[in-house]
Symmetry: C2
Subunit: 339 residues, 2 copies
């Protein structure tokens, strides 16, 4: 397996190291290429992501990313719009996969969480993330700034189809989340696409929920969800909330997938670089390790993926109130999967 590794910034570096420990323990023949991308490189030479980076990344079977960004030294937007998003677009990562599970012992803020186990399939290459929009008369009282959400039948259909297939392989329930009552052009396209693909998956029950109502269900009845399919921005919002109700972004993993298989898919924890706790060895590498499980499953290694998840589940369940020590979590998971 040829793996590209982008440790990134802050705790990204630390959690990636643990994730790689686990990967190496399970898959003997992994060759890794490390990429220097993120705040450090940007601050050194102003580069965010070059064509050469993209071409070279494409030579791999998959990509593991830690976390990108340093809000103390890089203005908001520079790395997001200069590196993270261009990477998703260049590699056509249209399925942004974000599973949410309430693991035993997780610190959910909810009183009665119920059994939380769902997957959000967030579209990753359209919507408000396309950089369509502009501004005129900037800095004057007449300034106008626009952002345009772009949605295509092609783009919506492929992600909807992917979500239906996942629902069919799970508990058979798909919920479209959108705001069709206000965003009638985009919403109409999403709703009609779901309606038209549905007959191909007769075993899947289809539901719809406005994004505002979805946030309510997320805290009052998250167990109702199995697979959620939604656009780029709503997916961004609902997955952070989902991570929070399942005990925090310390355990939320994600995949940026090109479902066509043309380009390598990328796996990463949902959390950021957390510069405030970087370098102290106390970041929880669980989300990065679970991202390795997603990576393994994506590459067809279901059995080892399940082993990682079982080990993580057991580890979370036995932690008690002990503070997290980054390397010890990795060591424990390695021991468990090697046993």
């Amino acid at each position: 397996m040829k793996l590209a590794v982008i440790p990134g910034d802050g705790i990204g570096v630390e959690v990636t190291a643990e994730a790689l420990k686990v990967l190496h323990a399970l898959v003997p023949d992994v060759s890794t290429t490390e990429y220097d991308l993120g705040a450090r490189r940007y601050l050194r030479n102003g580069e965010t992501l070059t064509d050469a980076d993209i071409a070279s990344l494409k030579e791999h079977d998959a990509i593991l990313l830690g976390a990108i960004g340093d809000p103390r030294s890089v203005p908001a937007g520079v790395l997001e719009r200069g590196m993270l998003l261009p990477l998703r677009f260049a590699l056509d990562h249209h399925v942004n996969l974000r599973p949410s599970r309430l693991f035993p012992g997780s610190a959910t803020p909810l009183k009665n969480p119920g059994e939380i186990d769902f997957v959000v399939v967030r579209e990753g290459t359209e919507g408000l993330y396309t950089g369509n929009g502009g501004a005129i008369r900037v800095g004057t009282p007449q300034e106008i700034g626009t952002e345009t959400s772009v949605n295509t039948r092609f783009g919506v259909e492929r992600v909807v189809r992917d979500a239906f297939a996942r629902a069919q392989a799970r508990r058979g329930k798909l919920t479209l989340v959108h705001k069709t009552n206000v965003l009638v052009n985009a919403g109409g396209l999403w709703q009609r696409t779901v309606d038209e693909v549905a007959p191909e998956f007769p075993a899947v029950e289809v539901d719809y929920c406005h994004i505002d109502a979805a946030t309510i269900y997320m805290v009052t009845d998250p167990a109702r969800f199995d697979v959620i399919v939604t656009d780029n921005l709503f997916g961004d919002i609902i997955t952070d909330l989902a991570a929070a109700v399942t005990g925090g972004i310390g355990t939320a993993a994600s995949g940026n997938i090109d479902a066509s298989g043309t380009n390598p898919s990328m796996f990463e924890p949902v959390h950021g670089s957390a510069p405030d706790i970087a370098g102290q060895g106390k970041a929880d590498p669980t989300a990065a390790i679970l991202s390795v499980a997603l990576l393994l499953r994506h590459l067809g290694k279901e059995e080892v993926a399940a082993r990682v998840e079982a080990a993580v589940e057991a580890d979370l369940g036995s932690r008690g109130d002990a503070p997290v020590v980054t390397s010890e979590v990795g060591d424990r998971i390695v021991a468990a999967v090697s046993a």
Copy 2:
């Protein structure tokens, strides 16, 4: 006081009746004009909102609205885009005010909610709600649907200024919620406007939070918020979540305010028409009653507004597990404010 009343559909009719009971008990000289707007009228004659309706509504000091819509018989979007939103735009309701408080006895889904008491100032006349966007090749594999968020310095500044003033009159903390790292045109405008207005309110501490992170804080540390200012769509999302964490939309009130005073402002519960429980006398009129409190405060009647809120707070605290009977809640609040 000349009050326009739009009871609307479903439980809107029932909760409005209770809210009016309370208003009449407190303010002797209220004359009301009832407007037949919503699903019933639309189903009868296809009308959503006429120019004559708007002209006539403008003749009032304020508007009280129950709830609009009947998802069983009116397609999503028809009344939203035909009546609710045109009303907000026609009456220039740029300050969409949504207070969130955790009342004693409220059924919050959070384990450790803390002291929740904040106000969301949602922009009400711009953003993705302007109906800017379109679709081509609808129904074909080449369909494209767009939605454009429109943001002007004029529109952003007036709502930011309003939010600063509210923060100054409260605990002195203002949080801008946006997605500046992705939506750089709109986000840049919002961020710069906040930065430029801030010096006029030196006692107000300014904070910023991405919308995704804001949903996390909303369930892990909602007590951190005092005043949130945000755009139309983010405000829609975050206020439903806020309502959920404070025990449900049964108690969430809102004001659609023209801060210039040119047009009458409109007050309404955040909840919908809930056709599933309509006509059974079990809808909670608390949100509608609290909307009357917002209305009274907006018209300068601070003392009576506070009386309504105190009565609601006491009532919620003493309910226990008894089921809600719509008219009894109204009677109890009337008795309390008249005592």
